[in-house]
């Protein structure tokens, strides 16, 4: 296979990986997703038998690999052309986690050795030894392991070669400690060290959203997780889960919304019980709007006197908008709120300005917007 063909196969293998680093986006795909990193697998020849994965060993598919030097060369070419901000490197398991991490480390050290100052995100394999994680932390801006699911039992069902407690949770804890250590180190070569992150496969098993939300909250508390990523399960032919139903995309969106409520809005998993159905699954509606509709006694909120927590409960007002309101009081008109980034159509039924309730025909008619 030519370099281009191998590159295509391995880049396609990472298209479901989310790894935005919130810097400069350099392109937008036809699906509206931002492209800011060169995302690639080192190889898709994997010795793991994860039941949902197109790269699982034994599956009949095209296998390809890139050498560390090739990855470094491609990354530099894209970086010089200002097409990317850095590299996201994942891989199939090359024999075992240790060997895979060694190869990933080689890429990172080669790049840094050549003076690369861009962003490097390394997705390590479950079971990566601590000494290699420590070395990776010397070069990468972000590194972490995918949790995939919520419990040991579920994990053993979808990733039978690894142990949830030792290979995943232990690594999440080491990653947290290493991030804190690197951030505290004086003069850490000017690198930005990203917070702990992980990815969940949504819908491969029957775990309810309540479990996922609870796990995310636990990880945020225990492993200082800042950014959970969710990937909707899509059955892959010739895998044990090929006959399972795909997970609806809206579920992924709603999970992202709830994760933001946990991360930025000070809510707990218990607060979110009201947005789940009897079986513990999210409804296809904005969870914040549902929460507000369930607590009519909390509204309307006076934008000139309310606390930040109360403002954050209003649909259409986010953390940035709430801070702007607090900084810019007194607010005398909706126009000012709009300038602060408040989504008025959503917020209007839930706020009042100078004692006047802001309403519209929808709320007048008792219909939520």
């Amino acid at each position: 296979m030519t370099l281009m063909e191998r590159m295509r196969v391995l880049s396609e293998g990472t298209k479901y990986d989310s790894c935005n680093q919130s810097a400069v986006c350099h392109a937008f795909g036809p699906d509206g997703r931002c492209i800011q990193l060169y995302k690639t697998l080192m190889t898709n020849a994997c010795s793991g038998e994860c039941t949902y994965c197109p790269n699982r060993c034994g599956r009949d598919s095209v296998r390809a690999s890139l050498t560390p030097e090739e990855i470094v060369k491609i990354t530099w070419s894209f970086y010089r052309r200002n097409s990317i901000e850095g590299l996201f490197l994942s891989s199939g398991v090359i024999g075992d986690a240790e060997r895979t991490a060694e190869k990933q480390l080689e890429v990172a050290s080669l790049l840094r050795g050549q003076g690369f100052t861009g962003y490097i995100h390394i997705r390590v394999m479950p079971g990566t030894p601590k000494y290699l994680l420590e070395e990776i932390a010397d070069y990468a801006n972000k590194f972490g392991v995918n949790a995939e699911t919520t419990s040991s039992l579920n994990y053993s069902e979808i990733c039978p070669n690894f142990d949830y407690k030792n290979d995943v949770l232990q690594r999440l804890q080491w990653t947290r400690d290493l991030i804190n250590k690197k951030r505290q180190e004086e003069g850490f070569k000017g690198r930005i060290i990203g917070a702990n992150d992980t990815q969940f496969v949504v819908g491969a098993l029957q775990e309810p959203d309540r479990e996922i939300i609870g796990t995310v909250e636990k990880f945020m508390d225990r492993y200082e997780l800042r950014r959970p990523y969710f990937m909707s399960f899509d059955p892959v032919p010739s895998t044990p889960l090929e006959n399972n139903e795909p997970s609806p995309l809206w579920r992924e969106v709603r999970l992202y919304q709830t994760s933001y409520l946990l991360k930025d809005y000070g809510l707990t998993a218990n607060d979110l019980d009201n947005v789940l159905d009897d079986n513990g699954f999210l409804l296809d509606a904005d969870p914040k709007m549902l929460l507000a509709s369930c607590s009519p006694d909390m509204f309307p909120v006076n934008v000139n006197t309310a606390s930040k927590d109360d403002l954050l409960r209003v649909p259409g007002i986010g953390p940035v908008g709430a801070s702007r309101i607090l900084q810019s009081r007194p607010i005398s008109s909706e126009k000012e709120l709009a300038r602060m980034g408040v989504v008025l159509n959503r917020a209007r039924p839930f706020i009042e300005i100078n004692g006047k309730r802001q309403t519209n025909l929808f709320s007048f008619a008792g219909v939520s917007a």
Binding site: K15, G29, P30, G32, R33, C34, K39, S83
Partner: protein, 281 residues
């Protein structure tokens, strides 16, 4: 009295401070000493107080003098007062004398710069945002290419932001020289590699004569292939993509233009090559 000030952050702030002491003075602005000399010759007046043309100015101290220690209630992403003035001066429609008068009219209330509560305040706030956005777009979509080993890019912005972009690109690529061509001038970053000052400005016609190495890159096909590989067809969302990368930004480089074309027209999921390889199988 007439006060002549340089059209940079220091000059504007010095002129504003002077206006606070002598509210009746008249203002003249000039880009540099030559421009100033020309203007003074034209007016024929000798009694001019010249500000901002010699030495460096402590702009932080000046901001404190003009606005006190009050912190502006600026929004996330808005620059501080020095950044605000710098951005406005880069705007194609900015008028430095009007800007000085506006800063003076705020009477030390820094809020008025960001609140947009007056007509002029709103205008300047929007100017600042315009420039900020243009610069950000440039960082996103400009695609430099190698010319004799020098990483070069032509920018076509209505505002004067070529130097900012050059500094940004030079910081990202400290090991190679950078040239950012803006009209008939070129900003050179990391100029030490080609025997120039670290950061300087030269006529754009000179850029072709700079030589660093024989590095070249022909990655357009590679990028196209990578771009296509990242797309999840089930999640096609043309409107969202269009909103994020409007046509105006797409025209910044050929690479972005092609990406945008794929958003508009869609990516064909099979090519003639696919048929050839299938029949071979």
């Amino acid at each position: 009295m007439i006060v002549a000030f340089r059209e940079n952050v220091g000059g504007v702030l010095l002129a504003c401070a002077e206006l606070m002491v002598n509210p009746d003075c008249d203002l003249i602005s000039a880009k540099d000493s030559d421009d100033l000399k020309q203007k003074m010759d034209f007016t024929g007046i000798d009694d001019v107080k010249v500000l901002g043309f010699r030495g460096t100015t402590d702009t932080t101290k000046l901001v404190k003098y003009i606005f006190g220690k009050q912190l502006p209630r600026m929004f996330q992403g808005d620059p501080d007062v020095e950044g605000y003035v710098s951005m406005i001066l880069r705007h194609r429609s900015s008028r430095p004398i009007e800007l000085v008068s506006f800063l003076y009219s705020c009477q030390g209330n820094v809020e008025l710069l960001y609140s947009g509560k007056s007509v002029t305040g709103k205008k300047y706030y929007n100017y600042m945002r315009d420039v900020n956005r243009s610069y950000h777009r440039l960082c996103m979509f400009a695609r430099p290419y190698f010319v004799n080993g020098v990483l070069s890019v032509k920018v076509d912005s209505p505002h004067r932001i070529g130097d900012m972009f050059c500094r940004w690109l030079a910081r990202k690529n400290p090991d190679i020289p950078i040239s950012v061509i803006e009209g008939n001038i070129a900003w050179i970053g990391n100029g030490g590699h080609v025997g120039l000052e670290h950061y300087t400005q030269v006529p754009s016609s000179l850029v072709g004569s700079l030589e660093f190495s024989n590095a070249c890159d022909d990655i357009d096909d590679m990028w196209d292939m990578y771009y296509d590989s990242q797309f999840i067809p089930k999640r096609r969302n043309k409107n969202h993509a269009r909103q994020l990368q409007p046509k105006a930004s797409a025209s910044m480089s050929k690479m972005s233009e092609r990406d945008s074309y794929k958003v508009e027209r869609g990516i064909a999921n099979c090519t003639l090559d696919n048929f050839v390889s299938q029949s071979e199988v």
